[in-house]
């Protein structure tokens, strides 16, 4: 099975060299394979967000090796990190983060725009993705004309635009009611089962985590448990 994410000895410190130096992540080790639906859970302050930023190539670890789809992310410069985010990672945020004044289909096209995909191809693929999340009829609506659930579905379509290695979802149902939350989760399950997508779900909800194949639990910057139905390789530190 192909390894998509490989973390070895990941340490993240803030305020390095200052009296208030702070170590958030204390040497994490784990791997995520292709097609796994993993959730990362933990109370606030456990280092979830910091880990998510590192997985999402928004930030570099202070120490350790992070291989994403065979690329050593820690060594990349700013521009290369942008390219990695663009091609390898599909973000889904809690508050959707659609670009305002830009309609649904243009939002879906954005990652392809930055990837330099041609106009026609962009439009063709975006239409397909909207169809997949059942939002074709809202293609020309601006975000402020859409409900939360609709926005999140657009955001998922956008996350899939460049066929990334992983979908990184940060509390994707956090701003939704239970029913729409379930609908969004159903899309993730569908993507996982039907398209064999690798999905990393960051959440503080035990219920949501229970729906996934594998649960990595963080506390105080350490992995305290890693249980999985499918993965089978429980690495407990």
């Amino acid at each position: 099975m192909k390894t998509i994410i490989s973390m070895h000895g990941i340490v993240k410190k803030f305020y390095i060299g200052m009296p208030n130096e702070l170590e958030i992540l204390h040497g994490l080790n784990f791997k995520i394979n292709e097609g796994e639906f993993t959730s990362i859970v933990g109370p606030s302050g456990s280092g979830k967000s910091t880990l998510m930023n590192i997985i999402g190539a928004l930030d570099r670890p202070t120490d350790g090796v992070y291989m994403l789809n065979g690329i050593d992310v820690a060594q990349l410069n700013d521009s290369e990190l942008s390219a990695i985010r663009n091609k390898e990672i599909g973000f889904v945020f809690q508050n959707f983060n659609l670009v305002s004044r830009t309609n649904a289909i243009e939002n879906v096209e954005l990652p392809m725009l930055y990837a330099g995909v041609g106009r026609r191809e962009r439009r063709r693929r975006a239409e397909k993705l909207l169809e997949m999340v059942e939002m074709s009829d809202r293609a020309t609506h601006n975000p402020n004309e859409l409900s939360g659930g609709q926005k999140q579905r657009i955001a998922i379509a956008r996350a899939l635009a460049n066929s990334p290695s992983i979908i990184l979802a940060d509390e994707p149902t956090g701003a939704l009611d239970t029913v729409t939350g379930h609908m969004v989760m159903d899309i993730f399950h569908k993507l996982h089962k039907e398209e064999n997508k690798t999905i990393v779900l960051i959440t503080h909800s035990k219920e949501l985590a229970a729906e996934t194949d594998r649960i990595i639990t963080l506390r105080d910057g350490k992995i305290i448990s890693d249980t999985g139905k499918a993965g089978g390789q429980n690495v407990l530190l």
Partner: protein, 445 residues
């Protein structure tokens, strides 16, 4: 492709904040419109002056006689003047040689003055005229004269020293009683004061130029008004035998027959031609007087005035630019989150930077375009006011050709400059946006 995407984005962003965009543009609009107004006026004034100049014979230039001072100095540097003698004048042979050398290129216009005279009409009224002798080219090159009927005096009249005369429409009215009279072909008896009384045949009628009213004896009595009449140059010279110096002209006017010909070249050719002729004359030489030189000085002054006012207007552009920078900084703060999202989706620094610089450029360019349109409008408005004012002064209407012409250079330069303001004042905010940390930006509320 990315470029058009940025333009579309920029316009969408500006449209979402119309009022703010307009207020921001105001500085640019005022600055650019001031520059365009001033340059339009300057340009129009130049154009009007040069048109009017051409109408007044600006396409002509004079060959004047000049005493060779530097060659006639004694040891103390005092020059010994010697008046012109018969041999010092430009001869008909010289003019013929010039014509042979450059066939059809120059129209020679000469005139001499026979002074005042009177003509009696059938009722016995004495009509006052001022008489000059002119060559065929005279009416043609002095464009304040327009022929109404008949022809002007020509070379035939000149060579044959014929008694042909051309008169003004006012003279026709004075002489025949109404201006529609068929004057051409009629004989009149001209009494040239102090010389002779002889018959002339009217060969043509020209329109009395209003501008001459200022120089002619003008009384409230229509019949007493003095009008100009013209007879052939050589005829005048012959009639004026008794007073030789008066029949001599102090300069000869040349006009280019072919307007498309390089004027400077034409001037240089004439100068070289006559300098050659006068090389062996110890006392007298020639000098070219080009009326367009005078226009050049006016143009220089106008250019300086335009430049100075443009610089003052540029200060308003600077203020406008600072306004643009300010609003871009506000816009970037407001859109911090959007920038974070874009970065998360894979936008590189240069993508973000380009996006905001393009937005600043579009902001300034729209301001610039509005400014240019406003400036052109102002120019035309002032032009119409000037035209109205000119309408109140009929005597100038004949030769002042008011022309409103926005300066294309200034328009292009202004648009270019406003874009430059966008680049300059957009760079700092755009750079700031590009440098934002995506994590911080995404967390920004």
């Amino acid at each position: 492709m990315f470029f058009f995407e940025n333009i579309r984005l920029a316009i969408a962003s500006l449209r979402s904040n119309k009022m703010r965009a307009i207020l921001t543009m105001l500085g640019i609009i005022i600055g650019i419109s001031a520059v365009i107004t001033i340059t339009t006026l300057g340009n129009s004034l130049k154009k009007t002056l040069s048109n009017s100049f051409n109408k007044l014979g600006g396409q002509t230039f004079d060959v004047e006689y000049r005493f060779k001072q530097e060659e006639n100095q004694d040891e103390d540097g005092v020059y010994q003047y010697r008046p012109m003698e018969e041999d010092d004048y430009i001869t008909d042979d010289m003019l013929k040689e010039l014509e042979a050398k450059y066939p059809g290129r120059y129209l020679v216009s000469r005139s001499n003055d026979l002074g005042a005279g009177t003509v009696k009409n059938k009722k016995g009224d004495k009509l006052n005229v001022s008489i000059s002798g002119v060559t065929e080219g005279y009416i043609k090159s002095a464009s304040i004269y327009k022929m109404l009927s008949g022809r002007t005096v020509n070379n035939d009249d000149d060579n044959g020293r014929k008694h042909s005369i051309i008169v003004s429409d006012i003279f026709v009215k004075q002489y025949f009683g109404h201006e529609d009279a068929n004057a051409v072909g009629s004989d009149i008896s001209l009494d040239i004061t102090g010389l002779c009384d002889t018959d002339f045949t009217i060969v043509g009628v020209f329109k009395f130029p209003k501008i001459l009213e200022k120089y002619m004896q003008s009384t409230s009595n229509f019949m007493d008004r003095e009008t100009p009449v013209m007879i052939p140059y050589e005829t005048a010279k012959k009639l004026n035998r008794s007073n030789e110096s008066n029949s001599r002209d102090w300069y000869i006017t040349f006009m280019l027959n072919d307007m498309s010909m390089d004027r400077d070249q034409a001037l240089r050719d004439i100068e070289r031609f006559f300098n050659e002729k006068y090389r062996n004359n110890k006392y007298w030489g020639i000098e070219i007087y080009d009326p367009q030189n005078e226009l050049g000085i006016v143009n220089k002054v106008l250019n300086i005035v335009t430049l100075v006012i443009s610089i003052i207007a540029a200060i308003s552009l600077l203020v406008g630019g600072i306004g643009v920078m300010n609003i871009m900084l506000v816009s970037i703060t407001e859109r911090t989150r959007e920038i974070g999202v874009r970065k998360a989706l894979g936008a590189k620094k240069r993508h973000i930077k380009t996006q905001f610089i393009v937005e600043a450029i579009i902001l300034c360019l729209i301001g610039g375009i509005i400014g240019v349109l406003l400036g052109i409008f102002n120019g035309y408005l002032i032009g119409y006011i000037a035209r109205y004012a000119l309408g109140q002064m009929p005597e100038y209407q004949d030769f002042v050709a008011l022309s409103i012409q926005p300066s294309l250079n200034a328009i292009l330069l202004s648009l270019g400059f406003s874009m430059l303001i966008g680049v300059f004042f957009g760079s700092y905010p755009a750079g700031k946006a590009a440098k934002l940390d995506p994590i911080e930006a995404l967390r920004y509320e």
